[in-house]
């Protein structure tokens, strides 16, 4: 960090160049205060969005009910944050911009339980050192306002001014005195996109506060004050996503950790992680433990390369979380991260489990439904005539998106008027259809039997509306009724090609991938079992040995506790051999070769670079086990086995994908059949 900061700073690099010419060590000197602040700024203020974050957080700490943010040229020229919060006393104004001055904590103990977003007393000083700043503030109850202005290390005396109650801070010409940094800023639209994204996140974190964001004079986002958390999430994620959100919850009133969230059905998964937001005690964070727990909960429900749409709010006892671990406070550290992981996982999982997630098999006209949705998908917070289409990194990271980077906020070029949800892919019909065509499916990899050619009757009319989307099978459209248990002892179950089961249900037909379904059922069972304790292990008459290179030996040491839980009893039995004494009972069931299984497991652990969290590794291994222990495609099943499989699937949960994200069950509704047959 230090090196980069110095090279960014012209003063520092000039000084070191001098030292090098002399060929002597430079004498140690105290750095001038401006330079100190600029170095600190290097950590806190990376880009315009960081300035916005610090300023808005200050407003929120001051109890603002409305926050207005105005930016010009992506924030490089002007960032203005106006709030109606408590304000700053005129005599405190110089202190506010002084380093290490804060009104939020007073002693070290306070750090243990920070309840405000800010606590270091560093942000304003850092920002002031790299910009031209002006603060106008009128404290609650005061007759007039006061103003202070700074430029680099030059501070103007405080003067009385006129202004409404609250604080208004303007930051102009960011990095005017640190050219190297200024050079590193990305294009205006990128910076603007980041700011929009940030405000969206902050707005979700503080649902009751009203937010307005204008970019170059145009409204980019507006949410009223007094929202409920649900309304706010819905407003930010978009009206089309709102009905797809399920409520997740865990932890009672008074528990040291409580989780509440809105999590999208699998069909709302996105290609970018933009729509997956984590909040801890009102803070926007990117916490790995929580993110992992959410992703784990979606395991098997979405393609692993996609990201769930979810907003997850944690209320954690302040003593249980350290917020002082990251320069921009983007991360936190939990004292008991595995309990946090568990709470989040459980909440999200339960929400998903409660929903019927069987995707409908698209026989051809599903596309039109999506088109309707796309048309109705005006983001609710867009106020002006300018849609926020393509705003934010979502628009940038997706090559081939309608707008592309140029369509970023405020550039005035929407994507042909078809507005889109701002934080993820647009619902633009053509684009989705194109993507579906490319991948052969709407996000899931589709079993070969359902490939376009196999499913779409040749007589469909090319060029008719929605034709492009015809092959977009398995798009994850929610079936119309909520509870659809798989009928056990269904009168007619047909096993086709020893791979799929076809059965009748109230809605029409269900097609089940026998391997995927069994795998999924095994996955759930093993996971449930593991939560209760180690898996049952069967001892071997004679230990089985594996040859082990140092890599395997090392991973054995590393994954030892994991193996223990899985019911694998393995230990080194020589410099280059590992002896297996016991293996999980269930692996024997389907004739898995346990030696090869343990070898694969150790090799996988060797390959993974960083030591994965135990939860993470566990999920992978369970998936591996489930896959190995499951019925394969090509296994002819007896009637009793089919019944058993269906019963178990139903007993577990109504889910739609195997742990690898392939669907387990598809549905063809009677309605679809009728339509296809022209009834």
């Amino acid at each position: 960090m230090g090196v980069r900061t110095c090279s960014d700073c012209t003063l520092a690099s000039r000084a070191s160049a001098q030292g090098a010419v002399d060929g002597r060590q430079m004498p140690i000197r105290r750095l001038p205060p401006l330079l100190v602040n600029q170095i600190a700024a290097g950590e806190v203020v990376e880009r315009p969005a960081s300035v916005v974050k610090e300023l808005v957080e200050n407003s929120l700490d001051a109890g603002a009910t409305r926050v207005r943010v105005e930016i010009e040229q992506g924030g490089r020229e002007l960032i203005r944050v106006i709030d109606d919060g408590a304000g700053i006393d005129p005599e405190d104004l110089p202190l506010a911009i002084a380093p290490h001055a804060t009104s939020k904590i007073a002693a070290a103990e306070d750090l243990e339980a920070v309840r405000t977003l800010g606590f270091r007393g560093e942000a304003l000083a850092s920002i002031a050192s790299v910009s031209r700043m002006r603060i106008v503030s009128r404290p609650r109850g005061a007759e007039t306002a006061a103003v202070i202005e700074t430029e680099g290390d030059r501070v103007e005396p405080v003067r009385p001014a006129a202004g409404p109650q609250g604080t208004r801070i303007e930051v102009r010409s960011l990095f005017f005195n640190v050219p190297a940094r200024r050079k590193f800023l990305r294009g205006e639209s990128t910076e603007a996109g980041r700011i929009a994204d940030l405000i969206a996140a902050l707005a979700m974190a503080q649902p009751h506060v009203g937010f307005t964001l204008t970019q170059d004079g145009r409204a980019a986002l507006e949410v009223p004050l007094g929202h409920s958390a649900r309304d706010r999430v819905a407003a930010i994620l978009g009206r089309d996503v709102a009905p797809e959100l399920l409520e997740a919850r865990s932890g009672d009133e008074g528990a040291w950790v409580r989780v509440w969230g809105l999590v999208g059905r699998p069909s709302t998964a996105r290609r970018t992680g933009r729509a997956l937001r984590i909040f801890v005690n009102g803070r926007v964070v990117a916490d790995r433990v929580v993110l992992h727990a959410v992703r784990e909960a979606y395991r098997g429900l979405i393609d692993p390369t996609r990201h769930p749409t979810a907003a997850v709010f944690l209320e954690v006892d302040p003593g249980e979380v350290d917020v002082n671990v990251h320069p921009t406070k983007a991360e936190v550290r939990f004292r008991n991260s595995s309990a946090i992981h568990q709470a989040v996982h459980r909440a999200v999982r339960a929400a998903l489990r409660a929903a019927d997630l069987v995707p409908e098999f698209d026989l051809g006209r599903g596309g039109s439904r999506d088109a309707e949705r796309a048309r109705g998908a005006l983001p609710s917070f867009v106020t002006g005539s300018e849609p926020l289409s393509g705003a934010g990194p979502a628009g940038i990271e997706e090559p081939g998106s309608a707008g592309g980077p140029a369509a970023a906020v405020g550039s005035g070029s929407g994507s042909g008027g078809s507005a889109a949800a701002p934080y993820g892919e647009s619902d633009d019909l053509l684009r989705r259809a194109a993507a579906a065509l490319r991948s052969g499916s709407g996000g899931f990899s589709t079993p070969a039997a359902f490939a376009p050619g196999a499913s779409a009757p040749p007589s469909t009319h090319p060029g008719s509306p929605g034709a492009a989307a015809r092959s977009a099978v398995a798009r994850g459209v929610r079936p119309p009724i909520e509870q659809l248990p798989i009928p056990v002892a269904a009168v007619r179950v047909l096993q086709v090609h020893d791979a799929y089961l076809v059965l009748e249900d109230a809605e029409g037909l269900r097609i089940i991938d026998q391997h995927a379904l069994h795998e999924r059922a095994m996955f759930e069972r093993i996971r449930t079992r593991l939560a209760a304790g180690a898996l049952e292990r069967q001892r071997l008459l004679l230990p089985q040995s594996i040859e082990a290179d140092p890599g395997r030996m090392e991973s054995l040491a590393r994954v030892g506790p994991l193996l223990e839980r899985l019911g694998i009893d393995a230990e080194p039995s020589g410099p280059r051999t590992i002896a297996i004494h016991a293996l999980p009972t269930l692996l024997f069931e389907r004739g898995v070769d346990p030696v090869r299984f343990v070898e694969a497991l150790l090799d996988r652990a060797t390959d993974s670079e960083e030591s994965p969290s135990e939860e993470g590794a566990l999920g992978d291994v369970i998936a591996m086990m489930a896959c190995k222990a499951a019925i394969k495609a090509g296994d002819r099943l007896r009637a009793a086995e089919i019944d058993e499989l269906l019963r178990r699937a139903d007993e577990l949960e109504r889910s739609s994908a195997c742990p690898h994200g392939r669907p387990t069950t598809l549905r063809i509704s009677l309605r679809q059949l009728d339509r296809q047959f022209g009834r």
Binding site: R529, A532, L540, L541, L542
Partner: protein, 370 residues
């Protein structure tokens, strides 16, 4: 070739031969039987290249010698469906005519030369002779413990270990091991080999007279069983399983310090009932041994629990709990004689033993208990 044969004798021979033919094979001849008529007898032969079976039939009237090869399943269906006491079989080139009182079937088969040559008699290796009933008993008491699946543990065969007249058969799947001892009528030297389970399953079905002698001859790669004598004898030849059998003597524990006797039927019934509440990932049934009682308990999460009490006449040793896969216990009890078995234990993570007399020893490894 032309023969008149007793239908039921032919049916029996074809049924056995059908069990040897290859299930799925690109070589149609391997799904056929070969009929060879020689003066006074007809032989039915089948092979899948690993096992070869040749059954002699004496209840035939050979009108004309010769050979024929015919799809096993078709011939079997015809013979089975027929209601005649005798059938006349006649071949002309590759066409077979099967005639009954009111029927005439014509079935086409491959050329006789397409049928693989059956292996000749084993080179003079060690031989022994044992009553068919005794060998069958040794086989059924061990073969169940072989591994079904094709994994590294699977020793897809049963060890024959003979020292003079003493014959031991041993089978294991890596988690349990069954050992049965018997006595040969005659036997020279010693011999050890692993016989594939498929061959033994066929062999067991060849036995109808327990008193009939079985000659066993083996060489490096093959074993040959001759069941019965004379025209009616059946000869089964099989390749041997290569590789080393696990050191089974080391696996049989010798220092068990807890011992009890219990009626096999009673225990079997109790274990069966306890097994009703187990599932795929937790199979284990808990065996709690205490003074004069054995309690079996099981639990399947989300399903329920079971507990069964048995009175013990005697139990020597401290009380202890151990988990076993119930299927393994039931398997053994199914193959012992009625009456008591002895159970010997040491510790929850050490093997358990089920014995009956001196002749049957069964080692089973425990499962962990929750």
């Amino acid at each position: 070739m032309k023969v008149v044969c007793d239908r039921s004798a032919l049916l029996d021979a074809l049924t056995l031969a059908q069990g040897v033919t290859a299930a799925r094979t690109p070589q149609p001849a391997l799904q056929c039987v070969r009929l060879s008529a020689t003066p006074g007898s007809l032989a039915v032969a089948a092979t899948d290249l690993e096992i070869a079976l040749r059954i002699g039939l004496a209840q035939v009237d050979v009108k004309q010698e010769g050979d024929a090869v015919i799809p096993a399943d078709k011939l079997l269906q015809i013979v089975r469906a027929s209601e005649d006491a005798t059938l006349t079989i006649e071949t002309a080139k590759t066409t077979m005519h099967i005639r009954g009182a009111d029927s005439h079937f014509k079935v086409y088969g491959p050329e006789v030369k397409d049928f693989p040559a059956l292996p000749g008699p084993a080179e003079k290796g060690p031989t022994c002779e044992i009553p068919a009933g005794s060998l069958r008993r040794l086989i059924t008491r061990t073969i169940f413990a072989t591994a079904v699946e094709n994994s590294r543990f699977a020793i897809n065969g049963v060890l024959f270990d003979r020292q003079g007249r003493k014959l031991r058969l041993v089978a294991t799947d890596g988690r349990r091991l069954a050992l049965a001892k018997g006595e040969c009528g005659s036997g020279e030297g010693e011999h050890r080999c692993i016989v594939p389970t498929k061959a033994l399953n066929v062999l067991v079905r060849l036995v109808d007279d327990p008193e009939a002698p079985i000659q066993i001859a083996a060489d490096q790669g093959r074993i040959r069983f001759t069941v019965g004598i004379g025209e009616d004898a059946a000869v089964l030849t099989s390749v041997l399983v290569e590789g080393a059998f696990p050191p089974f003597e080391d696996v049989i524990p010798k220092d068990q310090d807890k011992r009890l006797a219990i009626d096999a039927g009673e225990l079997s019934s109790a274990v069966r009932r306890a097994a009703l509440l187990t599932n795929e990932e937790s199979k284990g049934v808990r065996f709690s041994f205490a003074d004069r009682t054995l309690t079996l308990s099981s639990r399947a999460p989300e399903m329920g629990e079971a507990e069964i009490h048995l009175d013990l006449d005697e139990y020597q040793g401290e009380s202890m709990e151990i988990g076993f896969n119930p299927a393994f216990v039931i398997d053994a009890l199914k193959h012992v004689d009625g009456g008591p078995v002895t159970i010997e234990l040491k510790a929850p993570n050490k093997p358990g033993l089920i014995k009956q007399g001196q002749d049957f020893t069964y080692v089973l490894m425990p499962v962990s208990l929750p």
